[in-house]
């Protein structure tokens, strides 16, 4: 892709809304060392979002978009869920797939891009919620891992179908009660990170988004490994503060609790992934 698509023609500059000019002038394009530390100074790729006030998912979005090493050549595939409300407002190429088939769509996009642009690095990143990744889309998700597709899958785990009123999902914890699951969940939470390892992912991480720098590291590692080796998976705890009865300023606290309990930081990598990560660290890119 040409950077010229971000350059506004001089003759029409005076008619442009300021946020579009800022995207050209202040966003961090073409700099693989970009990261969350740019957030206070650079123009973000997320213009506004329509998530609830204080939603941890919005934090995750900001950190992930700030950490993509190659945003100008990154395609994001998303699925139905709270996250899908945000995608129309980010300044990247995004594809909204049907509910659950996001990894199948991403696989196709990645293969076509490799065929069409053999000399260019194009990253394909799947961003989807727990319903899309683990319930409705588990088949497509795991099959893409089995096929060793070179894509990064990021799951926003809020442990519930939040925007449809609070139904239990595969990632809901056993015993949790929600508005539409009044008896409490009868079965255990699906250990998706373990399934990802068993299915052939080369880099897997489970974490909350309480630490921006840690999210940046995980995203960069996952994308670099996916580029060269094979599928990678990031499992992020982004609690739905409304559905668990928290106030809008308590998302961070909830995630910090998660850090100590079931979402304690867990990282897995294969020897091939380790070699890539080591090399990228030496190059100063992670």
């Amino acid at each position: 892709m040409s950077f010229n698509i971000y350059k506004v023609n001089e003759e029409l500059r005076e008619f442009m809304p300021p946020e579009i000019l800022e995207l050209e002038e202040k966003a961090t394009w073409g700099n693989p060392k970009r990261g969350v530390m740019d957030l206070p100074y650079a123009k973000e790729l997320l213009e506004e979002h329509s998530l609830c006030a204080g939603c941890p998912e919005s934090d995750a979005f900001r950190y992930i978009l700030a950490s993509l090493p190659n945003p100008e050549d990154t395609i994001i595939v998303n699925s139905t869920g709270c996250t899908s409300l945000v995608f129309p407002q980010i300044a990247l190429h995004t594809v909204h797939s049907l509910f659950g088939n996001q990894n199948a769509v991403a696989s196709g996009i990645k293969r076509v891009l490799e065929y069409r642009f053999p000399n260019k690095v194009k990253d394909v990143v799947v961003l989807a919620g727990d319903g899309a990744t683990v319930d409705i889309g588990l088949d497509c998700t795991l099959q893409s891992f089995f096929r060793q597709e070179k894509i990064t899958t990021i799951c926003y785990d809020n442990e519930v179908y939040a925007n449809t009123g609070g139904q239990e999902s595969g990632l809901t914890v056993k015993g949790h009660v929600f508005k539409m699951a009044p008896k409490g969940k009868q079965w255990d939470k699906v250990p998706m990170w373990q399934l990802a390892i068993d299915s052939g992912c080369h880099y897997v991480v489970r974490m909350t988004v309480s630490s921006p720098r840690r999210v940046e590291q995980a995203v960069k590692k996952a994308i670099y490994v996916a580029r060269e080796v094979g599928p990678t998976y990031i499992h992020l705890y982004t609690p739905c503060i409304l559905e668990i009865g928290r106030n809008s300023d308590e998302g961070l606290e909830e995630m910090k609790l998660g850090d100590k309990e079931r979402f304690s930081f867990f990282e897995y990598m294969t020897p091939q992934a380790e070699e890539v990560i080591k090399r990228k660290k030496e190059e100063g890119l992670i």
């Binding site: 698509i5 506004v8 029409l12 442009m16 506004e48």
Partner: protein, 189 residues
């Protein structure tokens, strides 16, 4: 324009339903008739020069400097606006903005009627908008407003616009500007 139905919406979702199709190469569409390109251009210029608040909605294909043709077209759009005494309002991208766009400074294909109502635009030119979003926006404008739409398309044209010319590249846009200058003179403006 389509006749309004009993609930005051257009009973026809698209012009195609009424048998209106895009013009063949070298021709233009004037309301529901296929005419010579020059005839369509002349009528487009006349409408732009005589109706209230003429506006050029310029899309991403011309806003951004992604090719030499885009750079050339941007200059021509400025010149066109001067000749037609028209305002330029950009369609900067197609993202549905939340909670809504500022209709004074931009137009969005997902609710183009907001910009048209807010600025009381009675005639507009679409140029540099990707076909699929021009199709969406023109249908909404056709059904919801009394604005006369003109589409200058680099490809096949748009049947949902009241006047459309196709295969418009810099030489064709220059031709339109020259015709507009003549019409302006004829109208004594």
């Amino acid at each position: 324009m389509a006749t309004l139905g009993p609930y005051h919406f257009s009973p026809y979702p698209t012009a195609v339903v009424e048998g209106v199709l895009t013009p063949p190469p070298g021709k233009g569409l004037l309301y529901n008739e296929i005419v010579d390109e020059e005839v369509a251009m002349r009528e487009a210029a006349k409408q732009m020069l005589t109706r209230e608040n003429p506006t050029i909605f310029v899309g991403p294909l011309i806003i951004y400097a992604w090719s030499d043709e885009a750079k050339e077209n941007a200059k021509l759009v400025r010149e066109m606006a001067e000749v037609l005494n028209a305002k330029i309002i950009p369609m900067v991208d197609y993202r549905p903005k939340y909670p809504k766009i500022n209709p004074e400074v931009e137009i969005n294909p997902n609710h183009p009627n907001l910009t048209i109502w807010h600025n009381n635009i009675k005639v507009c030119i679409f140029i540099g908008v990707h076909c699929h979003f021009a199709n969406v926006a023109l249908k909404i404008i056709r059904a919801e407003t009394d604005c006369l739409t003109i589409a200058m398309c680099a490809k096949m044209g748009h049947e949902d616009a009241m006047i459309t010319v196709r295969d418009q590249h810099p030489d064709d846009i220059r031709k339109f500007i020259n015709i507009a200058k003549e019409v302006k003179k004829e109208l004594g403006k």
